[in-house]
Amino acid sequence: MSAPVEDRREEWEGPVPVPTGATVPFWAGALEGELRYQECDCGHRQLYPRAVCTACGSEDPPFAASDGVGTIYTYTVCHVPGEPGFGDRTPYVVGAIDLAEGPRLLALIDAEPESLEIGARVAVTFWRVSEAAAIPVFVPE
């Protein structure tokens, strides 16, 4: 998959991810429009990235590319900004997205709240927010 990566560095005032340790390949993938998760040789799939597989204990499980689609497990509409730099964005939607491959990911959903429902299909896009990272943002399919 290759999803759009919009450069939002100029406008972004929110927190910026800092790639470290096991998360480095995830953020590298995001810059290229690829949503990555860890898929261990034992078959277990996981996100957020960790130095060990939580199923078998293997160290540094390899990454695989997600198709970037999933469904909304749940969501909330934030009327109070939870982080600096979000004041002008309210209300905004944060969802827990079940990727088709299995892992669940928390992310912004870029859509009008009224149009959303649990179970709806969404696809990933990326907002580049720093030199080192682009964050996954989901939009209705």
Partner: protein, 382 residues
Amino acid sequence: MAEPILAGVAESDLGETPDRNWLDNAAIATVRALEDAGCSLDDVDGVAVAGGDDYMPALVLSEYLDLDEPSFLEGTEIGGSSFEHFCGHVRSAMARDEADVVVVAYGSTRKTGPTDERSLEETHPIDGFVRPTGLFRPPGAYAMAARRHMHEYGTTEEQLAEIAVATREWAAMNPEAAHREPITVDDVLESRKIAEPFNLLDCCLVSDGGGAVVLVSEEKAAELGVPEIAVAGVASTSTHRQDISEMPDMTTTGAAVTGPKAFEQAGITHDDVDVAEIYDSFTYTALVTLEDLGFCEKGEGGEFVSGGTTAPGGDLPMNTQGGGLSYCHPGHFGVFVLIEAARQLRGDYEGDRQVDDAEVAVAHGTGGLLSSSSTVVLRRES
């Protein structure tokens, strides 16, 4: 097994304490709770403290109180349920004769104190995923869980609001409660939107303050001549920590595990429970916990809490001091559910605020983002 006796309870001053730090509030609550138990700092041989804004809080509080070589030290941090969790550790220590008088303490300046501003370099790797979403935590995280519960079981915002309304009825009788004026379901629904489906009145307040309970051995309790409020059952677990996306099923909490265990240890059934003090950081927290503890079937919490079940005069008096929704909430509310449970079992109150002839109380703590659960069953020995 020998059961620790909850011999003394107290709060520090609540509300705003701009001239105090967390440690002052924890220490004040501790000395007041000791006085309530009829003993003194000299008697203390154990300290359990969580939630302090300090590294090594058990050492910090022990030093501050100038304790003489305490034999029991506990600082496990599992959020708001830490204090219920400590009850189990204290029981084990007392069974081994390692301690006779243990203070379980909490203090904070959540309202007026400094806030924690760390960069993403310094935090857990998942924060790089969560914080750029702008999610307002904890309310937004609990709201997401509540939304999922509404989706799966048809729970409504009105039903969530019923909890806030009933809790406020209790608060109206508590002079220490921050909010005492009556509210209606409509008031809750029309209050300011925070993180949908939560409105302002679905959310706990924020205050400064501290609380403490004194747990003593049966021998010490006999010596002190205090009412015998026994820790008859206790169990803890966790499902996740750093973010709500890691919660396996947002409609079921660890209380589904800890409730049955604690009830079995205590040898009680739900019919035996006279009063429930259930962590209510949000309306949903209390609703899902009632289900998971087994007071109703899974998914029927909304129906269960409707019509004043948990209000004064209802079948299951809950959060009888006004809860985190209306009384106080200095960050970790778990110590306050123990305090109120003990007071109800001792018959400290008069009139409608006292649950008639309360003998068995359930005190339940929740920590993190619905992450940890600890259930304590307290029983008044006749």
